[in-house]
């Protein structure tokens, strides 16, 4: 069937009559040639127009493909999955032989369970692992549409509760309809009659010391219920009571609270009901802020953090600065907790002692919320602590890479990579390899050994990710790209790969050499002699167990690390892996430490050093590089940075590359100005608190956050036309800019997407005029549970709308439902013709030019063609045939004429002879003028030519010539 995708362009066919009319101007051209020119032009134009109309042929296909989309989000209890299983077991049995069936499991993202196959059989369980915290129906439909076989009748069967909280299924349903794919919808139903939940917890964002304020708990229930409500402040119970909850949304339960201590305070509410099928939605969180004295959090990463931190903590307290000090475990994991402090001091703390998320949180807190950050040196800090390419490095005024030195100390790290048989295991393996690489400097050696294909693909051997196996890092981008292509196979034994790594390490010049083995423990344990030999070469071996198949192999790996003089790790979740590898990679970065006595040198004028003329000597530091735009207040005698500071976003950060304890700063801790120096450093870095006294309210509902600011001055007047700018820090510590609009006198509002569980912190600045002093506005809200748990029943109406929008049906009788029913129009597979039409038109253009510009004698050409090209005898055209007949006729006429003339001539000659003979007989024997000439006999032509107009020029007969010659000879003889 012919189809035009752009039928409007067919109007251009009207040009063809114009061509025919215009052809009249070619009257002077021979008719045949004229018609050829016109025909070519018409065909050319026809081809062009059909190409522009995007002509295609559509074949009808009768095979059917059905995709089942299984909603596996958290909102659906596991018991409700049975309905999906039943449909998957029974429905495919109704498929015809030529039909195919595919299955997609989805929640936040879709996962292809089975691409369309004939004779589908439900394997008993859904094998795809999906992250269920969100429901994105649209992405599943999109995947199905993309994965359908092209030449089939197509149908999507959506089995879901319809509680969408990401994407737009309705929009995608319309797209599906456009593609001719109906979405039949089967609701998933579950029993949630006893569901009791806390919709939200509301406290004022700011409060005053000991001032009473309302804490409001919003509750709702499917039916009348009772529960025990507990309210916590900073983890401690502040209220507890039995509550009656009516069906539906209840009026807020109000409690009065007071706070005496300054800082951020987090409230949480939990309601308990034993019969509640969904305890996940029984909690809510909120936080409030009470203005307080600046507070400093000091984290020390030394092996004895309490003792090490005591030097600085005591000094600061002596200067009346409030300090909380401790080890890495004290570092907050949430932004509201970090907001309690105004400066964070990381003393000798390795990057590996905190998670990537914590680093990102700190960086955002500095940049967007004005937190102060001070990093103090030690053997675990700066480059030696693995801060290369981390968010913390971004915030600090120094770089971890060293560029001002020509000869640099370096290390060598080899990763032995065994395939990880956990979901996305190989992706994780690559990520942690990249995390290790990030820690290294350009001078360090790095390599990844694994079992993989050899260069020629003929066998699989222990090999390196790149050649030579250990390479100086240099430009990390190339190595990162190579790591992404690494495909480790299941290693049978550790021995060969360990040997390979050890051999390469023994051949490079590096101060520290280290191997990290990553494995699920499957390979055969190494021979002890192999590990001992590696250790004896000064190479250390660490081991990381990832999803081990047996507890026994965990012991094996631990033993290997023990012999190898390294560390053993057994992370419980894959998210811990990058942190472990960052820490392991720093083993080779200890070369950045310089332990040598030096005197600090003042480089630039700095407000931090006000009042200090001379400083005591120090015994060591970590080599770093001062960033451009940073202030290098102090340097070492070796021209390396010692004290550097700068402003980063709204916050200020300081780097002190030596330490603040009795290891490198033994002279300092006894120095009388030790406390004053550090107090000045800390005070310079403190968060600037110029908070506007506006009422801020932040709420989250249905995956959407709402920020409301009521701006009123001291006299109670609305403040209008404020210009707000700033961002929201999301639970994953990414910032998103928010647009704040004035919605009423003195009221400003902003919305933001809030689908992730966790805290959302708003950080805004408000200006009344472009040159006015900015005022800070902060607020925040916590989403305690996933939007998946907001609804307690399937959204049937929404599902019906999806079905309607796509042209599908709402399945109410699953038992008799046949997704393979042929009640859809046959599928048409388009075969586009326009490229060929266009090609034909292009090929005709030179033909058209040729016909118009070149005159060709077709008879000549055909004759030439037949004789020269085809090797045939010349062919006669009809004209030639006529000419030939005419010439034959003429020849015949000429012959007849000649015969008549000859006859007449003979008659004349005979008559002449008769007369001559008569005269001779009358005169006797008088010689004849024809003497000696043969007398023509009967039937012979006379040799004597009678010149007549008819035979003039005709060749004389041979006999005549010889006669003439003889006559001539006789005449000459007579003259003699």
């Amino acid at each position: 069937m012919i189809h035009f995708a752009e039928p409007m362009n067919l109007w251009l066919l009207a040009i063809i009559p114009a061509i025919l009319i215009a052809a009249r101007r070619l009257r002077l051209i021979p008719r045949m040639r004229r018609w050829m020119i016109v025909s070519v032009r018409v065909v050319l134009m026809l081809l062009l127009v059909l190409a522009l109309a995007r002509t295609e042929i559509r074949w009808e296909a009768k095979d059917m493909a059905v995709f089942f989309l299984l909603d596996r989000s958290d909102s659906i209890p596991a018991s409700a999955f049975d309905a999906q299983a039943t449909l998957l077991q029974n429905a495919p049995k109704k498929a015809a032989r030529e039909d195919s069936t595919g299955v997609i499991a989805f929640s936040a993202k879709p996962s292809m369970e089975t691409s369309p196959v004939p004779r589908y059989e439900y394997p008993g369980k859904v094998l795809s692992a999906t992250e269920g915290s969100q429901t994105d129906i649209a992405s599943a439909v999109r995947l199905a549409l993309a994965a359908f076989p092209g030449d089939t009748i197509r149908r999507v069967v959506l089995i879901s509760d319809g509680n969408e909280n990401s994407g737009s299924a309705l929009e995608m349903a319309r797209v599906a309809r456009g593609a001719g794919v109906p979405i039949d919808v089967m609701p998933v139903r579950y029993d949630s009659r006893n569901d009791l939940k806390i919709d939200k917890l509301v406290v004022p964002q700011r409060t005053s010391k000991d001032a009473p304020f309302d804490l409001k708990v919003h509750l709702s229930a499917e039916q009348a219920s009772r529960g025990l409500l507990r309210v916590y402040r900073d983890g401690e119970v502040v209220a507890e009571q039995e509550v009656e909850v009516a069906p539906g949304k209840n009026p807020p339960l109000v409690m009065t609270q007071r706070i005496a201590d300054g800082g951020f305070h987090q409230y949480s509410a939990v309601i308990e009901n034993r019969d509640d099928p969904r305890p996940q939605n029984n909690r809510a969180q909120a936080f409030t802020y009470l203005k307080a004295e600046p507070k400093v959090l000091l984290i020390d990463g030394s092996s004895e953090p309490t003792r090490s931190a005591a030097f600085l903590a005591t000094a600061l307290r002596a200067e009346n600065i409030i300090v909380e000090a401790g080890g890495p475990s004290l570092l907050p994991v949430s932004l509201p907790d970090l907001q309690k402090y105004d400066t964070l001091v990381l003393s000798n703390m390795a990057a590996g002692d905190m998670s990537q998320a914590q680093m990102q949180m700190i960086e955002r807190a500095v940049h967007d919320l004005g937190l102060g950050l001070i990093m103090i040196g030690g053997e675990n800090s700066f480059g030696a602590g693995g801060y290369n390419d981390t968010p913390i490095e971004k915030a600090l005024p120094v770089r971890m890479d060293i560029k001002q030195k020509k000869i640099l100390p370096n290390g060598a790290l080899a990763i032995v990579l065994h395939t990880c048989e956990i979901p996305s295991g190989n992706a994780w393996a690559k990520e942690i390899s990249i995390a290790s690489l990030n820690v290294l400097s350009a001078q360090d050696y790095f390599g990844i050994a694994y079992l993989g294909s050899d260069t020629f693909g003929g066998s699989y051997t222990d090999r390196w990710a790149w050649e030579p196996g250990l390479q100086q890092v240099g430009d990390k981008r190339a190595m990162r790209n190579t790591i992404k292509g690494v495909a480790p196979l299941d290693m049978m034994s550790f021995d060969p790969t360990l040997r390979l790594a050890a051999k390469a390490l023994s051949e490079v010049k590096a101060q520290t050499k280290h191997i990290v083995v990553i494995s699920d423990g499957d390979p055969s344990p190494p021979d002890q002699d192999v590990v001992n030999s590696i250790r004896n070469q000064g190479i250390t071996v660490s081991a990381v167990a990832i999803a081990p198949h047996s507890g026994m192999t965990v012991d094996t790996l631990e033993q290997m690390a023990y012999w190898g003089g390294g560390n053993f790790y057994y992370p419980k979740t894959s998210s811990e892996l990058p942190r472990i590898f960052t820490k392991e990679a720093t083993v080779v970065r200890k070369s950045l430490i310089r332990e040598e006595r030096f005197n600090p040198v003042s480089n630039m004028q700095s407000e931090i050093l006000t009042g200090f003329v001379s400083l005591p000597s120090l015994d060591g530091y970590v080599i770093t590089t001062t960033k451009e735009l940073a202030t290098e207040a102090l340097a070492t005698e070796f021209e390396d940075p010692l004290l550097v500071h700068w402003r980063y976003g709204l916050g200020k950060t300081v780097a002190f590359t030596s330490d603040a304890k009795d290891k490198w700063a033994s002279s300092w801790v006894q120095w009388p100005n030790f406390a004053k120096f550090w107090a000045q450093v800390v005070r310079w870095s403190l968060r600037e608190t110029n908070n506007a006294n506006y009422q801020v309210n932040t709420e989250v509902e249905g995956g959407q956050g709402r920020l409301t600011i009521d701006a009123v001055d001291e006299n109670g007047n609305f403040i209008n036309f404020l210009d707000f700018s700033g961002s929201i820090i999301k639970p994953n510590f990414e910032s998103e800019e928010v647009k704040v609009s004035q919605t009423a006198p003195g009221r400003y509002e902003a919305t933001f997407p809030a689908g992730q569980v966790g805290s959302y912190m708003a950080s805004l600045t408000a200006k009344s005029a472009p040159d006015a002093e900015p005022q800070f506005v902060t607020g925040g809200v916590s989403l305690a549970y996933s939007p998946e748990y907001e609804s307690s029943r399937s959204a049937d109406e929404f599902l019906k709308r999806i079905a309607e929008a796509s042209g599908g049906q709402f399945i109410s009788d699953a038992k008799n439902y046949n997704p393979y029913a042929r009640n859809l129009p046959p599928a048409r597979r388009p075969l586009p013709l326009w490229p060929w039409l266009l090609l034909g038109a292009i090929l005709l253009v030179p033909v058209d030019v040729f016909l118009r510009r070149v005159y060709l004698d077709w008879a000549e050409f055909l004759s030439w063609f037949r004789t020269k090209v085809m090797g045939l005898l010349p062919a006669r055209t009809p004209l030639e045939e006529v000419g030939r007949l005419e010439s034959l006729k003429a020849a015949k006429e000429r012959a007849l004429q000649e015969r008549e003339e000859e006859k007449r001539e003979r008659e004349v000659r005979d008559s002449f002879r008769e007369r001559l003979a008569q005269q001779t007989s009358e005169r006797g024997s008088e010689p004849s003028v024809f003497e000696g000439q043969d007398k023509p006999g009967p039937g012979m032509r006379s040799t004597k030519h009678t010149v007549t107009p008819d035979n003039e020029g005709a060749p004389p007969a041979q006999g005549g010539m010889s006669s003439l010659m003889e006559a001539k000879k006789r005449a000459q003889k007579r003259k003699k």
Partner: protein
């Protein structure tokens, strides 16, 4: 993995190879598809029995290659079996459930008949049980295990521990990751694949090492991570090499006879294969693991074997 019968002889060209090979299956979880098939055996009923990474025991017809049925193991999230054998007496299926440290016995319909084993390195317990092979009379079971110690173990059919031998922890010279075991038709010789050391160890029933053959390498006659072994009907040993992606054949005395196959994804090529079985009529079946398929070679004599020391794999 044990079968009896005769294998044909001779060698052929590559073109003949492709005609002699049937590739069965594509990647997937549906009937007729495989996901990393790791072990294969052939039943007396001429059925190919395969276990793959999706935790299925999949049965295909040996003659046609067609899918017949499938059933699921009780658990497979930790990992899947690497060894499967048919019982010579009743044709039941013995499974070395590697990552669950136990032996499973199934009938052909997937009914679990018996099981035994628990995790541990003590005698009678398993760390990573790799293969189980019944005696010709079916009374005893021979089992290989690694993870802590590398060992060969003997159990009664009922699962009672009899004896074991092998290495201590972190010793690998004598045995390193024994991955498969087969027994001679007379029941007197055990052929153990010493994967980590790239060789085949031959033991008596008492654990005495009779001989050991093969060495690490890529050349003909050398082995690169041999993974499984089948005793052919001609009494030859068919060894599948994980890292060399080929089949090497040896006499029971250790003489290299020939090799066939290469790395790749065309018929006759393998991608880290784990399992091999030889049928009574000489048909070879390979679990072509990372190509997610099995390959059936019905006329081994027509394949282009690279001959070994006695000028041909098949005489």
């Amino acid at each position: 993995m044990l079968a009896s019968g005769l294998v044909g002889c001779g060698s052929g060209e590559d073109a003949a190879d492709s005609k002699s090979i049937q590739v069965v299956g594509t990647a997937g979880r549906q009937p007729g598809q495989f996901s990393k098939p790791r072990a294969v055996a052939i039943s007396k009923a001429n059925e190919i029995v395969v276990v793959d990474r999706t935790g299925r025991i999949i049965v295909h017809d040996l003659k046609t290659g067609e899918f017949v049925r499938q059933f699921w193991l009780p658990k497979w999230e930790n990992g899947t079996p690497t060894g499967i054998s048919m019982d010579p007496t009743d044709d039941t299926i013995w499974v070395a459930d590697t990552h669950y440290h136990r032996v499973l016995q199934y009938d052909h319909e997937g009914n679990l008949l018996s099981q035994f084993g628990e995790e541990g390195e003590d005698p009678g317990k398993f760390v990573f049980i790799t293969d189980v092979c019944p005696d010709p009379d079916g009374k005893m079971l021979w089992i290989t295990d690694y993870g802590r110690r590398n060992r060969v173990m003997q159990f009664t059919r009922a699962g009672e521990f009899v004896r074991e031998w092998g290495t201590k922890l972190f010793e690998t010279d004598d045995l390193q990751r024994p991955q498969a075991v087969s027994i001679s038709p007379d029941g007197q010789r055990l052929y153990v694949v010493d994967t980590g050391n790239c060789r085949i160890n031959v033991y008596t029933r008492d654990g005495e090492l009779v001989k050991s053959f093969g060495e690490p390498g890529l050349e003909p006659g050398q082995l690169n991570m041999p993974q499984d072994l089948a005793l052919g009907p001609d009494g030859r040993l068919y060894v599948i090499e994980y890292s060399n992606c080929r089949i090497s054949t040896f006499s029971t005395e250790g003489e290299f006879l020939g090799l066939w196959g290469s790395a790749g994804n065309h018929p006759g090529q393998f991608f880290t294969p784990w399992g091999i079985a030889v049928a009574n009529d000489g048909t070879i079946v390979v679990a072509d693991t990372m190509n997610h398929r099995i390959q059936i070679m019905r006329h081994p004599a027509e394949l282009a074997w690279t001959p070994g020391s006695n000028q041909g794999a098949h005489q």
